[in-house]
């Protein structure tokens, strides 16, 4: 294994824990498909954070056991889940009303590109890949704080924190915070403010031109 392939910075679990530390007790939280679902599994139940999944459930608790699993109990990533006492089920119109109406405090989503204006792209690569926006466009315009949890670099090695998104947008001026394995960043409109770097990571490693960093 060459030195360049050694993983640098936070693990996914550590990224999840960094996000969990941002979320106060009593808050409501929606988790996107993929990496963000780790947060449900690592959340301290004593914290009273209620987790929403847009397919129609409030009170997600993490994985079920083989004894309790139910084919009709899944999250928006279509993974089987379990729920807390006090959970509720509802239809998709009410579920997205919770989002659009500003009743969800935090939303953690994956991203393909984020830029300094807080624009987000995460639903298609023209001509190559279309996953669809699912609930992401509603979430970024509805939840009170949007946190993007993504890898710092694309497979091609390009930094995914940009001066301006190139892919079709999911929403404009919607991102409050980005966390990658290298650090935590806040789009200011003209730059990324570096809130925190993972242990041992330097600014030079971020692959972001200095004038875009404050």
């Amino acid at each position: 294994m060459s030195e360049s392939s050694t993983p640098r910075g936070w693990t996914r679990e550590e990224m999840a824990d960094e996000i969990i530390a941002l979320i106060p007790s009593g808050a409501s939280l929606n988790l996107g498909i993929g990496m963000p679902t780790l947060i449900a599994e690592r959340m301290d139940p004593a914290k009273s954070v209620v987790i929403h999944s847009e397919n129609g459930v409030l009170g997600v608790k993490g994985r079920p056991t083989r004894a309790t699993v139910s084919p009709t109990l899944i999250n928006a990533g279509k993974e089987t889940i379990s729920v807390q006492a006090g959970a509720s089920f509802f239809d998709s119109a009410l579920s997205f009303g919770m989002i659009r109406g500003g009743h969800i405090d935090f939303c953690v989503l994956g991203g393909m590109e984020v830029d300094v204006q807080g624009n987000l792209a995460n639903w298609m690569v023209p001509g190559k890949k279309v996953t669809g926006m699912g609930g992401a466009m509603d979430l970024v315009n509805g939840a009170r704080q949007i946190i993007i949890m993504q890898s710092h670099f694309s497979r091609g090695g390009e930094c995914k924190l940009l001066a301006e998104c190139r892919l079709p947008l999911t929403g404009r001026g919607v991102v409050h915070r980005v966390i990658t394995e290298l650090g935590m960043f806040v789009p200011t409109g003209t730059a990324f403010r570096v809130e925190k770097l993972a242990p041992g990571i330097t600014m030079a490693e971020l692959g972001i031109v200095p004038e875009l960093l404050v």
Binding site: L73, M133, R172
Partner: protein
């Protein structure tokens, strides 16, 4: 109350035809109307405009009709996890309209509830806003229109002869909304129960929205991504 029961999927779906718009409930494979989909595959009707969040997943659900070449248009929010759809879309065999999931839900509700249009911030400043009226409220918004259908096929856990329905856990999702929005709503149930068996306060979709109901059978209830704590 009017008895809307049919003896089989074949009888309940007797008047489907080429070119219909068809809503189908379910999120991924959760809560999908398996028996009705199988019957439509058997009938072989074509040129369907399918309206469903995922148009099946992993080769199952509505993806059965995709594989049969029965679907020519699809309105949905998510293509990921459905290789049949992604492939037919990129090949130009199926014309896909992607709608943000919350707008998709609300447009279907609007069709059922007689709302002729609504303003939402979702999609403003993106491809979704192209060609739509915009208007400034506390945030800039776009005008979205109701989404109707000729038929809806949905599945409920329990239902009675009038069509009152109850859904289990997250299997509810889009199904009651689609039940309101279609001209003809055809329901299959895990369990057909007597009138009054579902407490009147806890009916998730009142039977007034339902035209036909039948007892389903042989449910697979596939789990797409089983994950366990143990």
């Amino acid at each position: 109350m009017k008895d809307k029961t049919f003896s089989s999927s074949q009888e309940a779906l007797h008047d489907l035809r080429d070119g219909i718009s068809l809503m189908s409930g379910g999120f991924g494979l959760c809560g999908i109307p398996e028996n009705s989909i199988d019957e439509i595959a058997r009938q072989g009707i074509r040129d369907i405009h399918a309206i469903s969040n995922n148009i099946g997943n992993s080769g199952r659900g509505l993806a059965i009709l995709l594989k049969n070449g029965q679907i020519s248009r699809a309105t949905c929010s998510y293509v990921g996890g459905n290789p049949d759809l992604e492939q037919q879309m990129l090949a130009g065999q199926v014309e896909v309209t992607l709608v943000p999931q919350g707008t998709f839900s609300e447009r279907i509700r609007a069709a059922g509830m007689g709302i002729r249009g609504f303003y939402t911030p979702t999609g403003y400043g993106t491809l979704v806003a192209e060609g739509k009226e915009a208007k400034e409220f506390d945030k800039p918004c776009i005008l979205e229109l109701p989404l109707h259908a000729d038929f809806a096929i949905i599945k409920a856990e329990r239902g009675d002869a009038f069509g009152n329905l109850w859904f289990k856990e997250t299997a509810r999702n889009f199904s009651p909304l689609m039940g309101m929005a279609a001209k003809v709503t055809i329901v299959e149930v895990e369990e057909l129960v007597p009138l009054g068996a579902i407490p009147a306060e806890d009916i998730h979709l009142p039977g007034i929205f339902v035209q036909r109901i039948y007892q389903g059978s042989n449910y697979r209830n596939d789990i797409e991504i089983p994950v366990y704590a143990d």
